[in-house]
Symmetry: C2
Subunit: 191 residues, 2 copies
DNA sequence: GCAATGATTGACAGTCACTGACACATACTG
DNA sequence: CAGTATGTGTCAGTGACTGTCAATCATTGC
């Protein structure tokens, strides 16, 4: 069985345990036993207990980066960022994905430690996207780009995304309209 | 000796150890021994090793909250937030504070785990300030406030702050102008 | 068909953050 | 002086994570 498949099997097992007992209350030993492997082997597939939950976020991040590269260079940064959020919007549109993601989000929100790790991943993703946009701006001649403002812009777009996600989690509402509303409200004046 | 004083003594000792050996490489036992107390007593003053470093951030957060309450209710949220960031600007103006804060920031940046915890605290602070602004808006009659947009706005302001801090850490530049530049660029259109 | 090789695994021991329980000492209060 | 609150050390225990070693298993070359 491929590494990817084993990871997926572990993740599914672990997540159902987390839903049942909570993240902190579930030990790695229990997960390993439920999967049918030693604790040591668990750590060969995931660097930490956190990563079991945050792994899907990493894959979503890669997808977002791909979407960003696919955007036309002349598009405004803000609109490109909005489009790179589309994978999340699409996942939310699929009821199966939405249920699963909501369960994960609930697990993350219930553990401060895990939630912090989640924010750490989000921050790294922001750096990646900012770097990509910086590179894109450098290739396109014209007015000089302000690195500082660009990074803040990426952070602002993610703030919209984050606010929307927590808001939609609390009271079920359509995702895309909320995201569009916040991103319209915070859109930088300089295009 | 007061609790506060003991905490401060532990923090000073721990920070110098962190600077020397790094955060992860310094054990709680070492810190406790350097201070001259048992490990158990260390945990009576700080709930975790992280908190030794993040404690000063908590106090700064309280100061920011105080500044925000002191702002006039009719002021725009964006400007009020900018003013609540003043304590950071002021600390940066004092060379002694700047050196100390920069050292702390370097410690935090070097440990992904600690950095994540730092982001977690920042997020909680954002929720607090958003709650305060929401309450302020509710008291003031007039047009209804969009909770979602308000939260995103707070997140956007913090994105400016965060971008500025990391930028100024990398290449020494005056703090206030950078912060003002980003916050001018991301200022929401609706006042 | 078989041996060498490399990857995967379990078992075990060890480190470190953190917690609970208990005993002891000091200082304040009636 | 008895009682109580508070701060402390000691000890044992849990749980995440790591290093090491030996066994197993599949692949490759001959």
């Amino acid at each position: 069985m491929s590494r990817r498949a084993v990871q997926s099997r572990i993740a599914r097992t672990a997540e159902s345990l987390f839903v049942d007992k909570g993240f902190e209350e579930t030990t790695v030993d229990e997960i390993a036993a439920a999967v049918g492997m030693s604790q040591r082997s668990f750590f060969r597939y995931f660097a930490s207990k956190d990563e079991v939950v945050l792994d899907s976020l990493a894959r979503l991040g890669e997808e977002m980066a791909e979407r960003l590269t696919a955007r036309p260079p002349e598009e405004s940064e803000w609109d490109s960022l909005r489009r790179s959020f589309d994978p999340i919007v699409e996942r939310y549109a699929d009821p199966g994905c939405r249920e699963h993601d909501a369960a994960l989000q609930r697990i993350v929100d219930c553990s401060p430690r895990l939630f912090a790790a989640y924010l750490g991943r989000l921050d790294r993703l922001q750096r990646t996207l900012a770097e990509m946009l910086l590179h894109r701006a450098a290739c396109r001649p014209g007015r000089a780009t302000d690195v500082l403002v660009l990074r803040a812009t990426v952070g602002g777009a993610f703030a919209c995304l984050h606010a929307t996600m927590t808001h939609v989690m609390a009271e079920p509402e359509a995702f895309a309209p909320c995201l569009d509303r916040t991103m319209a409200a915070l859109r930088p004046a300089a295009v």
